[in-house]
């Protein structure tokens, strides 16, 4: 029988209220451990399968390297990867925040008016469908080799899913609550801050997870086409040298960054969305 509300489970309740602090924090630790452990197990299983396939079908490294080789490469040259990880990480995260901010602003504007939506949304689609792979070189030309064009690409990649979801989130409000605020003559701004924004959080957090990984991709693509830093650069160079293990090591690290960032979103989400039915 699935429970529909937070409940105590059996005996634990009988203990005194004041003594609850300790077991709670213990269970928190346990929860954190299991939330790290389970995906770890998944990954180990995934890589074992991969390794087995490589060995059984004797797949050549140029086609697909074995995880063992990839991890050996990673560990042996870890200090090589470190600055690149940092570069990509900072670019992705800065891009994400810039993109998210602009998306929120755009979301506010477009959710307020159907006309604005009709006018601006197609332009946003244009910006999103334009493959960043195609515009990355132009950005390098326009903005040089620094972090800026990469951050910009990360921001552009983040922007679209954030905006689309925020529009829907800002609009999906409870009519009763909206009417109540109206009865107080709340301004559009107040309605936004008090109702639309908190109400859209489930949408925004979903979009943030997508946006985070898309921000990473945006940053990588920027690095592929300009400059000599970042995992994107490591990736292309390795690909050109057919250093498949290094290439996949870079991909692993990218995935790690992506998982880290999406998990960070999750942590913030748990903090802010406890009231929502999705957090059961």
């Amino acid at each position: 029988m699935s429970q529909s509300v937070t409940e105590t489970n059996g005996g634990a309740v009988l203990s005194e209220g004041k003594k609850r602090t300790k077991p709670l924090s213990e269970s928190k630790l346990k929860g954190a451990a299991s939330s790290f452990l389970t995906p770890l197990i998944a990954f180990v299983a995934f890589f074992c399968l991969w390794e087995m396939i490589i060995r059984i079908f004797k797949i050549k490294m140029v086609i697909l390297p074995a995880p063992s080789g990839i991890f050996t490469e990673l560990l042996r040259n870890f200090s090589f990867y470190l600055p690149h990880i940092w570069t990509t990480f900072t670019e992705a995260i800065s891009g994400f925040f810039i993109g998210a901010l602009i998306a929120l602003i755009a979301g506010i504007l477009l959710s307020q008016s159907r006309l604005l939506e009709r006018v601006l949304l197609p332009l946003a689609v244009l910006a999103h469908v334009t493959p960043i792979v195609a515009i990355a070189p132009l950005f390098i030309v326009w903005f040089g080799f620094g972090a800026f064009p990469k951050i910009l690409l990360a921001a552009i990649s983040t922007f679209f899913p954030m905006m689309i979801n925020s529009i829907m989130g800002f609009r999906s409000i409870d009519e009763n609550n909206y009417e109540y605020l109206q009865s107080l003559h709340a301004s559009k701004f107040e309605i936004f801050i008090k109702l639309r924004l908190p109400n859209s959080l489930p949408y925004l957090f979903s979009a943030a997870r997508t946006g985070m990984s898309m921000g990473v991709i945006g940053a990588i693509v920027g690095e592929m086409y300009g400059g000599s830093e970042g995992l994107g650069n490591v990736l292309t160079v390795a690909a050109n040298y057919l250093q498949m293990e290094r290439m996949f090591a870079a991909i692993m690290l990218l995935a790690l960054i992506g998982i880290l960032l999406t998990n960070a979103v999750k942590v913030v989400e748990n903090r802010f969305l406890h009231w929502h039915s999705s957090s059961k």
Binding site: V62, P137, G226, G227, S228, V237, A239
Partner: protein, 353 residues
């Protein structure tokens, strides 16, 4: 300012012409002071830190201080030629390296005001690679097969196919990725490669390959190109000249010290580098350069005809660009001035160090 084909022909016939005699009397102190007053000159390589000739020259010249010796404050940046051409056109770069002359020509055809000022070798670097056991020996054998290209089919390959009398409608051309082993793993029978790279990679992996070289069917292109921004070149012709001078000086050193060169590049790339592949690249490219040198001319010199023929190759291969003339795309006057005969003019040791 244009070197012009006529002068080239003449000097060809008469190796020790006086046309460069003036340069012998360069007042180096004045020149260096003038160069120093220009400020930073930005340049970009055509393929990051790889040991392409011309690129390697720039990195080594920087490392060994050749630019400084001539009073040039050069900032060498790793990059890709497609970006570099654009940045050169807008003046974000003053100098830039291109993989092939075609890139300069196409940029000019698209309104870029830039010119080629150095061509390390008047010989094509791009060829078609097939597996040795594929039975493909001539372009005619490619009919009914698939050719893979990276990004776009190079004009010299298209020209070779045409010249060899292959029926293009019977050849499928597809874009492929970086991996040359697709010759083995997919139905692609031939791919465009750099002579200095993929054949070696394939050899290392144990595959025997054969190259169909456009050069062999008389399709003459060039590689190791350096371009300059027109405005910059007009304002500071000596700086362009001295940039070339430093590159060529570096080249002399590279030929003597291939291993050290690779080390320098490896260091610059901070490990994002493959020593084997780059050593091979350097070896192959330097070996291609020497026999292709224009007789009696210094290394890197080129003729107007050479560029005209590259323009024609592009046109013939059906790549639509706005019509350009050889004078619009290249100027050999700078490279002409760095040589006394075929000897590089370099300031006496006394002026520096």
């Amino acid at each position: 300012a244009c070197g012009g084909g006529d002068t080239a022909q003449k000097s060809n016939a008469q190796p020790s012409t006086t046309s460069t005699s003036g340069t012998k009397d360069i007042n180096w102190e004045e020149r260096i002071a003038k160069n120093q007053s220009i400020g930073e000159i930005k340049t970009m390589t055509s393929f990051n830190y790889s040991a392409n000739i011309a690129n390697a020259n720039a990195w080594v010249a920087d490392e060994l201080g050749y630019f400084k010796e001539l009073g040039l404050n050069v900032k060498v940046m790793p990059g890709l030629s497609a970006d570099a051409m654009k940045m050169l056109a807008v003046g974000q770069l003053q100098m830039a390296h291109a993989g092939t002359a075609g890139e300069i020509i196409q940029s000019v055809g698209n309104g870029a005001e830039i010119k080629g000022v150095l061509a390390m070798a008047p010989v094509g670097l791009i060829a078609l690679m097939v597996l040795e056991d594929s039975g493909i020996k001539s372009v005619k054998d490619l009919e009914g097969k698939i050719i893979g290209y990276k990004g776009a089919m190079p004009a010299n390959i298209s020209a070779m196919l045409k010249k060899g009398g292959a029926d293009l409608s019977k050849i499928r051309q597809v874009s492929v990725g970086f991996d040359p082993t697709i010759l083995k793993t997919t139905e692609v029978s031939a791919i465009t490669v750099f002579k200095s790279n993929e054949p070696y990679q394939m050899e290392k992996l144990g595959y025997k390959v054969r190259l169909l070289d456009p050069q062999d069917s008389g399709v003459q292109t060039s590689f190791g190109i350096v371009g300059a921004n027109n405005e910059f070149a007009a304002k500071h012709p000596e700086a362009v000249e001295d940039y070339i001078r430093a590159l060529l000086k570096a080249h002399e050193w590279i030929v003597q010290h291939p291993d050290e060169t690779i080390k320098i590049l490896d260091k610059r790339a901070s490990g994002n580098f493959n020593t084997d592949i780059e050593t091979n690249r350097l070896k192959v490219e330097t070996s291609l350069i020497d026999p292709a040198k224009v007789p009696g001319k210094g290394l890197g010199w080129f003729s107007k005809e050479q560029w005209q023929s590259e323009i024609d190759i592009l046109k013939d291969s059906g790549i639509s660009i706005k019509p350009v003339t050889a004078d619009q795309v290249a100027n050999n006057s700078y490279v002409s001035k760095v040589y006394d005969g075929d000897k590089l003019i370099w300031p006496e040791q006394g002026t520096k160090k």
